[in-house]
């Protein structure tokens, strides 16, 4: 599998990519099929409801998602829509509250008459909304929320078939992070995490996986900071007290900005320095909001990732997307924007291939589907409806040609190797798999 990929290579790809590469549903293996049936026309326009947080402290997350879905909507309509009908996206504000989101889901489906739902930012919200999807009998494509409870419990164990998740989940934050950690010299790991399920789940998966890969490590300290923490000094100093040589943190958003700045000041980065950089693993560090806010500050050499990073994979499809996104919004795409973009194109592919809006047919079509998107080659697993695609980790590197830092020394592992597999009671590496340490 792809080990390293230089920035230059990808830039060349960016240059090569023509704007039209993707336009007519280059998304999937079924594109020929879709083209052939194009004569058939839909009677109504396809309406998609996009639920995300647009107000309050986390209002920026809805904005980042909207950039992706809006772009897809415009591209698709400019190219003739879905089977001749235009697509329309209706946005709704979840306010980050589960009850509000389920209300909006009902409103969009029962009053606005949308055919699909996409979006959803946080895990509490997604678990709530997933409960009403079978009742509404529409499909929900989750583009941001990462809790593995959704796919492992709601879909796999409880049989909720109406939810698919296109965003990488907490495996990226825990398991993949541990794989990267296992390659570093650090032996004493500590964490600073947001004080809620996402933090605990990530840390739990991280510890279990790392212990399997590297029995010689120990876990020396934990700090749990509630969401909205403005002063991380107490947590940083309590972690410094444990003398770790590696840090795992899934802090994100404003809290991450604060945390990184204070960690630099108080020497937490210096504490985890090694020859090749910092043993600092921050799976959400390459979120676009974080990179923009910390463009000049995030220490070079720290290991970061996202649920997609714009420079990977180096395909024409992704290059087109990044270019179009930058042209339209003057920002690099956020992972949630990319998954939203993917969701809209997936719906296009789905409707064109099945020529129906029947939900059961859709589910059957989607299960076990492999398709291509800016995310790369994506496999929708049958058992848990989780999109399986790999996202690399890389080290922060500033480059004067870009407004935000780029990633160097990318490390990627085939997604099938680090995603948990049904029945979800173990963490990788599974027996029979090749060892992880060399990728």
């Amino acid at each position: 599998m792809k080990g390293k990929q230089t920035r230059r290579e990808f830039l060349r790809n960016l240059g090569l990519a023509g704007a039209g590469v993707l336009v007519c549903g280059a998304l999937g293996g079924t594109e020929a099929l879709a083209k052939e049936k194009k004569k058939k026309k839909l009677k109504k326009k396809i309406k998609i409801g996009h639920i995300a947080i647009f107000s309050g402290p986390f209002g920026t997350y809805g904005e980042l998602q909207k950039r992706g879905s809006k772009l897809a909507e415009e591209e698709i309509n400019a190219a003739g829509g879905i089977m001749g009908s235009p697509v329309e996206i209706v946005y709704a504000d979840s306010k980050g509250k589960p009850a509000e989101a389920t209300k909006q889901a009902r409103r969009l489906v029962e009053s606005e008459g949308v055919d699909f739902l996409i979006g959803i930012d946080s895990s509490g919200v997604v678990l709530g909304v997933s409960e009403v999807m079978p009742e509404l009998n529409k499909l929900l494509f989750v583009t941001h929320a990462a809790t593995h409870k959704l796919t492992e419990e709601k879909v796999y164990k409880k049989g909720n078939k109406h939810v698919f998740r296109l965003a990488a989940n907490v495996y990226q934050d825990g398991i993949m992070a541990a794989i990267v950690a296992s390659r570093l010299p650090a032996k004493r790991w500590a964490c600073v995490h947001p004080d809620y399920a996402y933090g605990y789940d990530s840390w739990d998966l991280f510890k279990k996986t790392l212990k399997k890969l590297r029995p010689d490590v120990e876990f020396v300290g934990e700090a749990w900071a509630k969401i909205g923490t403005t002063d991380f000094k107490p947590f940083i100093s309590s972690i410094l007290d444990k003398k770790p040589d590696g840090i795992h943190t899934v802090e994100w958003g404003v809290d991450l900005f604060t945390f990184v700045r204070q960690s630099i000041e108080m020497g937490l980065f210096d504490q985890v320095k090694y020859d090749g950089g910092y043993a600092w693993i921050n799976p959400m560090g390459y979120s676009i909001d974080a990179m923009e806010a910390l463009a000049k500050e995030y220490p070079e050499g720290a290991w970061v990732s996202g649920r997609y990073v714009w420079s990977y994979p180096p395909t024409p499809l992704n290059a087109h997307f990044v270019k179009a996104h930058y042209k339209k919004w003057k920002h690099f795409p956020a992972y949630s924007g990319t998954t939203s973009y993917t969701a809209v194109y997936l719906i296009k592919q789905l409707v064109e291939a099945t020529e129906t809006l029947d939900v059961d047919t859709h589910i059957k079509f989607l299960e076990d589907l492999t398709f291509y998107s800016p995310l790369g080659r994506v496999h929708l697993r049958k058992e848990d409806h989780q999109a399986v695609y790999e996202v690399p980790f890389g080290q922060v590197k500033r480059d004067s040609k870009f407004p935000i830092p780029v990633l160097e020394n990318l490390v990627a592992v085939p997604a099938e190797m680090y995603y948990r597999r049904p029945p979800f009671d173990e963490v990788p590496p599974y027996t029979g798999y090749p060892p992880f340490t060399k990728v």
């Binding site: 709704a92 509250k97 589960p98 009850a99 009902r106 029962e110 009053s111 509490g124 009403v132 709601k154």
Partner: protein, 311 residues
């Protein structure tokens, strides 16, 4: 109680409207209407303390979510049958009410508001931290109500009507008079041989219990309970609704809830800046229309025709 056409006719019309609503309101409308009913009960229960007792609780989410979590934990964590969940939910609310009442009723006015706020946020902190039982930030999802939204609509509105009737009965009894007496003048009630503290405590527990009923209905309708319903901002919902409708009458909180929920539903469809509308409405109400909608309607219109109102 005497039978009074002027009072019962609007009520009967309203009940008929609620009964027929699902026939023309659409699926989403029915859902929203059920939710409005539940929040109305929440506001009415809150107003027992506020409008009648003169006590502003900024922590009623404690009782709402106490019942909700009691139900959720019984059903999803302990795997007990539904009826025990209902009982546990109400029991939790009752206990919370005793403790919170004991601690907060030592205070009045702003201090009372702050203590109730603090207590509800303490519970919020516990809910967020006690992950193995409460599900933490994620809450507990997957509580089955075992019937369609429409069936549940009828069930919940029945419960809501019955609960409101009970509250109304209590408030128009001697106890209601006593409670208003406490609001107007503590000393007189004291001299008349009643314990102010006890009157307040009883009102507090009643208010909490019916808030708990609303919490249970909400949880069943939503199928999930999350920390959002124990956060202080959820305590603000009945406060705002009651002010919009008018705290000085029984119907005020109900009218206010209708306006609040429908306006929010309508405005958020068109703009992400809906808070500013709400904020400005609140400012206008406090400065110019302290009687709320019911107050305006009553003062400006009804008072010309009807002599001798309920308040």
């Amino acid at each position: 109680m005497k039978f009074d056409v002027r009072k019962t006719a609007p009520f009967a019309l309203f009940a008929l409207f609620v009964f027929l609503f699902p026939l023309f309101g659409g699926k989403y409308g029915t859902f929203l209407m059920a939710r409005i009913g539940i929040l109305s009960l929440y506001a009415v229960a809150f107003n027992v303390l506020f409008g009648y007792g003169g006590l502003l609780s900024f922590g009623h989410a404690l009782f709402f979510s106490g019942a909700a979590y009691g139900l959720g934990i019984a059903l999803l964590v302990l795997d007990w049958p539904l009826w025990t969940g209902l009982l546990i939910g109400l029991l939790v609310t009752f206990l919370f009410a005793l403790v919170a009442g004991f601690l907060s009723l030592r205070h009045k006015e702003i201090h009372f508001a702050m203590v109730t706020l603090a207590l509800s946020m303490l519970f919020w902190g516990i809910v967020m931290k006690w992950r193995h039982v409460t599900g933490g930030e994620d809450g507990l999802a997957g509580i089955s109500r075992g019937m369609s939204v429409r069936a549940f609509y009828y069930l919940s509105w029945t419960v809501i009507f019955v609960s409101m009737a009970v509250v109304y009965r209590i408030l128009s009894s001697d106890f209601g008079l006593l409670l208003r007496g406490v609001r107007e003048n503590d000393l007189r009630v004291l001299f008349s041989g009643h314990s102010v503290r006890r009157v307040r405590m009883i009102a507090f527990v009643f208010s909490a219990l019916f808030t708990g009923v609303a919490g249970i209905l909400w949880t069943l309708l939503d199928g999930a309970v999350t920390p959002a319903v124990s956060h202080w901002s959820f305590s603000a919902v009945p406060v705002i609704a009651t002010l919009i409708g008018g705290p000085q009458s029984f119907a005020g909180p109900i009218v206010g809830t209708f306006v609040y929920v429908l306006a929010e539903d309508y405005i958020t469809k068109y703009t992400m800046y809906w808070q500013i509308f709400l904020g400005l409405v609140i400012l206008a109400i406090v400065l110019f229309f302290r009687g709320g909608i019911v107050g305006i309607v009553y003062d400006r219109i009804l008072s010309r025709f009807v002599s001798g109102g309920e308040e």
